[in-house]
């Protein structure tokens, strides 16, 4: 177990998040948002706001900010799809409720906020198209996003997936639905933008990918990418919501240029819901066909997702079913309903979170139909090859996850008959599900520097969004260099730390559970490169005791260089040589055409207690067994899985934005009404790692685990609710009213 290297800074408040940096002459911005979802701004009066104390400027479509637009295709386009940015010159169109229509800049935050309330807006309003339910009958197949929206794999004997289902001995069909979900990071998006006299821009902004963020800001400001420095030292949670660039950074930069002052723009909690992205609502229809022994013959997985008219991203969740269970016939289809709603973006386990809910609940329904144990059904459909692309898995131990999990949890005590365990007021049930999340890894370049004070600095521009990346970096460097952790300093979150050009995957930073998997092998490569550079320098420098030797004659071990019986630690050596430090970069690149399929796996087990009178579901305990390769830092890895499982708990029981069909307004856009789990909702979560190194995937053997905890965990809870109550709650969240029919006997 390794404690976080930045733990003391984080818990004492010493860590500076983007809004915490002191900047001379700082002015404060506050956004004005639309109160309609569709229409045109007829007029805006800023007179009252401009007359309010401390106000420096009021930007509206009638006094616009100057930045590039319509900014449909920023550098992040292929990752996250285009977003339409607000407050562009002459743009008076309202496309969703809570759209940015004004920015007030004042001397203090309070002055800006109070003046913003004085901006008067007159609209020509139209009824918005905001009802997902009304749009579903006319949903359309969208353009491809990360893969084709419709995939069919059929045996020659079947003309359609329906024919394959019809030929199956047993079929189950069900529809599952969930509302839009919001990331709700602890730190709302906040940016401080400051221009210097040379036209260089520095932006303090919490982001998952500082390099991509800087490029996107540069495009918007119409300046060279090298002119923009992004500092994102600490990030207060992101979960995909800080992967692409949102209005605060761009609008702060544009306003700062126009008022000639540094500007800080912090979103309020309420504003997050419409100014930044969300996970789209989705309805899925899952049909499974199987033989009597449980072997799957056909999977038909269709989904309909919402799509905002200001962004292109949708929630194509059915594709999840292409990569879990082998079956000769599979159909995955996605359609979308485009609505006048705020923009969408990626969110922890995009697609997998909802897709696993549909597939794993349907598997539970199939197990019940077949009178098979749900664990046995998964084992009967286990495979060591990817179900559709056919490649062998680099390292897969899902069956062991299932067996170990069942034993740790006490699965054998589960009663097959639903609603058969009553303890006082409570109905007790067990449920389980599995999760699969593709292992991602990007080309990454890291720098390692031996310093003359005896420390090693390791770093790059990538971000620690709260996951513990800084600690993983330190551990990996310390391990590779044979040094105690206390002598390694990891520096992250500043575009200046990565001066070399990088591919876009690396620029995106910490996304797709690829952070540690990308960084750790690069640190290893950089440590090797830096050691070689240190030795070379020691053989060339006139004051070095190793001067004149060949590099092959000098060895490095645990921070000490040795040759011919002489040993000197690198700190004193560099001091002797009068050199501050020796730095080298190392790059690690994944195979361009992998020969193997690579994924992380998990098995989740859950006990719920449902009040038999009033239907409240409480999760009593969960066990998650995870196969994610080598675990680099068990403490942080455990926290990641717990976090993911808690997300599954929120998905299953609590979360969901309520978009009013008539107005497009989000009715619960605040922390009181959008329910996320409290500590009281979260039980003991038993996390176990199998810890088999996956050296085909990466030299360090570690796969990602930031998202796998959120894949399948909601289904495990819903399946436990069925076991407890006999009710299939297929529409999330599973609130007490949905379990009431069983209660009112």
């Amino acid at each position: 177990m390794t404690n976080r290297v930045d733990g003391p800074r984080l818990v004492t408040g010493a860590a500076r998040f983007s809004g915490d940096h002191p900047v001379d002459g700082l002015a404060h911005g506050y956004l004005v948002l639309s109160t309609i979802a569709n229409g045109t701004i007829r007029s805006m009066s800023a007179d009252g706001a401009l007359a309010a104390p401390g106000v420096l400027a009021v930007f509206t479509p009638f006094n616009p900010l100057r930045y590039a637009g319509p900014w449909a295709e920023g550098p992040g386009y292929f990752l996250y799809g285009p977003n339409r940015f607000p407050l562009q010159p002459g743009d008076r169109q309202i496309r969703h409720h809570g759209q940015v229509i004004g920015l007030v800049v004042a001397e203090t935050f309070e002055q800006a906020r109070d003046a913003a309330a004085l901006v008067e807006t007159a609209y020509d309003a139209r009824r918005p198209n905001a009802s997902f339910a009304d749009g579903i009958p006319n949903a359309v197949v969208p353009p491809p996003l990360t893969g084709p929206p419709v995939v069919d794999v059929l045996e020659p004997r079947f003309g359609s997936i329906d024919a394959a289902l019809a030929a199956s001995a047993v079929t189950v069909r069900a529809s599952y639905s969930q509302r839009p979900e919001h990331h709700n990071p602890m730190e709302p998006h906040t940016a401080i933008a400051a221009w210097d006299t040379d036209g260089k821009l520095t932006v303090h902004s919490g982001t998952q990918g500082p390099l991509l963020h800087a490029q996107e800001i540069a495009v918007a400001m119409e300046v060279e990418a090298e002119s923009v420095r992004v500092i994102s030292t600490y990030v207060g949670g992101a979960f995909g919501g800080k992967a692409s660039t949102w209005p605060p950074a761009v609008l702060a930069a544009a306003a700062a240029r126009q008022v000639r002052r540094p500007v800080k723009l912090a979103l309020t909690r309420e504003q997050l819901y419409s100014v930044t992205g969300h996970r789209p609502a989705v309805v899925q229809d899952v049909a499974l066909g199987a033989a009597r022994d449980g072997k799957l013959l056909a999977i038909k997985h269709d989904c309909v997702s919402t799509r905002s008219n200001v962004s292109s991203l949708y929630n194509g969740v059915s594709g999840y079913s292409l990569g879990v269970y082998p079956t000769p016939n599979v159909h995955a289809g996605t359609r979308v309903v485009t609505l006048d709603i705020p923009p969408a973006t990626i969110m922890r386990a995009p697609g997998e979170e909802a897709g696993s809910f549909g597939l794993e609940c349907a598997m539970d329904e199939l197990a019940h139909e077949l009178a098979l144990d749900p664990v046995a059904l998964r084992l009967a459909n286990d495979t060591d090859h990817h179900p559709t692309n056919g490649g062998p898995y680099s390292s897969k131990h899902l069956a062991e996850c299932l067996r170990v999990g069942a034993a740790r949890f006490g699965w054998s005590r589960r009663k097959v008959q639903p609603r058969s365990v009553v303890e006082g007021e409570l109905l007790v049930g067990y449920g389980m599900a599995v999760g699969v999340y593709g292992a991602n890894r990007y080309e990454m370049t890291m720098r390692v520097s031996f310093r003359n004070d005896g420390t090693v600095h390791v770093g790059a521009a990538t971000s620690d969004m709260g996951t513990g990346m800084r600690t993983v970096l330190s551990i990996t460097a310390a391990d590779n260099l044979g040094l105690p952790l206390s002598r390694v300093v990891s520096v992250l979150g500043d575009t200046r730390l990565s001066p070399d050009p990088m591919p876009i995957g690396a620029m995106a930073g910490a996304v797709g559970s690829a952070g540690s998997s990308s960084v750790a092998p690069a640190v290893r490569a950089a440590a090797k490169a830096a050691t070689d550079a240190l030795i070379l320098r020691a053989t060339q420098h006139g004051r070095s005791p190793f001067h004149g030797l060949t590099p092959e004659e000098v060895s490095y071990r645990d921070g000490v260089l040795s040759a011919n019986g002489r040993s000197v630690a690198f700190g004193p050596l560099l001091t002797l040589m009068e050199v501050d430090g020796v730095t080298a970069s190392g790059t690690s690149t994944p195979e361009a055409t992998p020969t193997h399929a690579m994924s992380s796996f998990a098995a989740h087990f859950c006990e719920v207690r449902v009040n038999r009178f009033t239907g409240e579901t409480r999760v009593a305990r969960m066990t998650s067994v995870v196969d994610a390769g080598t675990i680099l830092n068990p403490a942080a890895a455990r926290s990641q899985i717990i976090g993911g499982v808690v997300w599954g708990l929120g998905q299953a029981l609590l979360e969901g934005a309520e978009v009013e069909p008539a107005t497009g307004r989000i009715a619960n856009a605040n922390f009181a009404d959008y329910l996320i789990p409290t500590n009281a909702d979260i039980p003991d979560i038993d996390v176990h790692f199998l810890n088999y190194p996956d050296t085909i995937f990466s030299p360090t053997g570690s796969r990602g685990l930031g998202e796998i905890g959120a894949v399948g965990s909601a289904a495990a809870i819903a399946n436990a609710v069925f076991n407890a109550t006999g009710i299939r709650a297929r529409d999330l969240p599973i609130s007490p009213d949905k379990l009431l029919p069983a209660s009112e006997e």
Partner: protein, 325 residues
């Protein structure tokens, strides 16, 4: 937030004298400051009464007295409350969060405003906030709204838990203004919205809640507060029931039942009480009595589950009190 003056009167007399048009008393601040930030309330003068000597909790043969400025947490933990009226302690401990309970006062708790999302969003119409502007809740997002005591002007749920327990116990509020002191039964203190939802209680302008009296009721030792909510903590009630029964040899001699989360004010259930009196404490009796709980309910499009949930909550509370889960 709008500009306001802030003063901290040093006595009740000073506070009453300072009160006037547009003034608001500040106790724990957990509702007032919140709503001022949201621009829902905009008092021109804030009178901080936090230091006034209205914090005592005492018990005698006539019952329990709780000073208006006693903190929720102190009241919940007080041995007199916990011993004689468990329903009060339980209602308080299931309210809000520990941080809020440490700040919020009993008087302020009884005056807390509704959690209706339209009331709290000045960008939307609301008859309670802006009389005559309309009520989007009747057709909009209304899953948590009231089913009892509603009108065509307002269906905002009374948000409190403590008030439900106190209503069941026939408690009164003690009120004081410059003309003197008076007491009102809590049931009479709160107003139904009718066509004036902005009027929520019978407080006169400048009048101050100084305390709460709860009549002695020996059998209130057998009392319970059951709160049903989506989330386990820090969440308002979908339904709640405060119940006390006088149980002798398996027979319910007397009963006090009130419901929360369902009414525009705390909702006493006399028909349920009557149906329990003189009957054995048995599941079939509970069910028959609970069937009367939601009489007269007018559900809205998204809270049609509330009558059934209320009946179930009554049965759950009675089952607990009878000691047979």
């Amino acid at each position: 937030m709008r500009a306001f003056t802030y003063t901290a009167p040093s006595s009740v007399e000073d506070a009453l004298a300072a009160a006037g048009d547009g003034s608001a008393y500040l106790a724990g601040g957990t509702t007032l400051v919140d709503l001022m930030k949201l621009d829902v309330m905009a008092p021109s003068a804030v009178l901080d009464i936090g230091a006034l000597p209205l914090r005592d909790i005492r018990y005698d043969t006539t019952g329990l007295y709780i000073g208006a400025l006693a903190k929720m947490s102190d009241t919940a933990a007080h041995p007199l409350t916990a011993t004689h009226y468990p329903v009060i302690s339980q209602a308080l401990l299931q309210s809000a969060s520990p941080q809020i309970r440490n700040m919020a006062s009993i008087g302020g708790n009884l005056l807390q405003r509704t959690r209706c999302g339209y009331f709290r969003d000045p960008a939307t119409p609301c008859n309670k906030r802006t009389p005559g502007s309309g009520c989007p809740a009747l057709t909009g997002s209304n899953r948590t709204h009231a089913i009892l005591g509603t009108s065509d002007a307002c269906a905002a749920t009374h948000a409190g838990d403590l008030a439900v327990a106190l209503t069941a116990l026939d408690a009164s509020v003690r009120l004081r203004d410059q003309s003197g002191t008076r007491a009102l039964r809590l049931e009479d203190f709160y107003l139904l919205p009718a066509d004036t939802p902005h009027l929520e209680n019978r407080l006169r302008p400048g009048e101050l809640v100084i305390g709460v009296t709860v009549p002695a009721l020996a059998w209130a030792k057998r009392s319970v507060y059951v709160k049903v909510r989506d989330r386990h903590s820090y969440e308002f009630a979908l339904t709640s029931v405060a119940a006390a029964i006088d149980l002798r040899d398996g027979v319910i001699v007397d009963a006090r039942i009130a419901a929360g989360g369902v009414g525009t004010k705390p909702w006493r259930l006399p028909a349920v009480e009557k149906a329990l009196k003189g009957r054995p404490a048995r599941p079939d009796v509970f069910k028959q009595a609970a069937a009367l709980a939601a009489e007269g309910a007018r559900p809205l499009p998204h809270n049609g589950f509330k009558p059934a949930l209320l009946r179930q909550t009554v049965i759950r509370a009675l089952t607990r009190l009878a000691g047979r889960p």
